[in-house]
Point group: C2
Chain length 193, copies 2
Amino acid sequence: MDPIRRCVQALSRLPGIGEKTAWRLTWWLLRADDSIVTEIAAAVGGLQGSVMECERCCTIATTSPCKTCSDTRRDPSIVCVVERPQDIQAIEGSGEYRGFFHVLHGSISPLDGIGPDQLRIRPLLANLDGVKEVIVATDPDVEGDATALYLHRVLKPLGIQVSRLAYGVSVGTEIEYADKVSLMRALENRRLL
Amino acid sequence: MDPIRRCVQALSRLPGIGEKTAWRLTWWLLRADDSIVTEIAAAVGGLQGSVMECERCCTIATTSPCKTCSDTRRDPSIVCVVERPQDIQAIEGSGEYRGFFHVLHGSISPLDGIGPDQLRIRPLLANLDGVKEVIVATDPDVEGDATALYLHRVLKPLGIQVSRLAYGVSVGTEIEYADKVSLMRALENRRLL
């Protein structure tokens, strides 16, 4: 195929990038320095084979255990459970949290056939030594609520406090895109389940 | 560098893609099939060395002369002058035009130090055999107007009719993004300069 059309077609596969934007990006690339084009191609290609799931927190990282799980200055008595790896960044950015994380890779959604077994809940249960509190930082939607309730039901009998981010995060926003201040409030005001 | 951050940094260089979007794309790529990631990397990398400027119309293409310039069914008496290669697609998309094209790679803008010599005007003047009309399809802005007037001044003495796209294209819109119907009107109602 014509390399220009091939590039447009490939870029159109990215989320939120339609054909018009793909053309715009392609024309930009055609006029850009060779070094920039090489770097973008190499950087995208470089993602392959270089990332893995952390054996401990299940995030996507370049090492296993990941950098966060290897950080001995963190408080081992507290684990923050999130839906997606990118939610970790958002919560770290609030500067308010110094515990560990666990990534579920989704939330409970019976309509989509996603129950607890489809999420990384078993690895969470296998890593609870010394954990006193689990903060559930799932999205403020039905699936996030269902997931929080499920974790509460499972963890409470083990003597672990389960709290949830306070709704300082505006309803309808995904954790990943929440602003830092709202996230700070939400961490401060987390409530026991 | 960490391959994840490297990818975010590389994608952030694309126009209209900030750090947040670059992270979103990178997380998507991390979860995508290897084949998709390979294809995107290869398609971007494949742009290099495979494109050139057409010796005739100065567009960016994979052959020289380009496909359009090699199309013998086109009317050789008429040339449509555009600012950018992507404008050709937009005008072709109107289905109204069957002549040849010429790409200036910009428009006259004294404030930016861009005069006629910085544009591909000389190759245009060298390819006027049998040309009876030049349609100037520059953007409807000050620079586009200045370019049209300049071409009129240069081409009129050679006995070539110079016309300009009618302002069916709404002022403030760039040719590249105009809708097909407006472009059709603009071609129909082009006016002699």
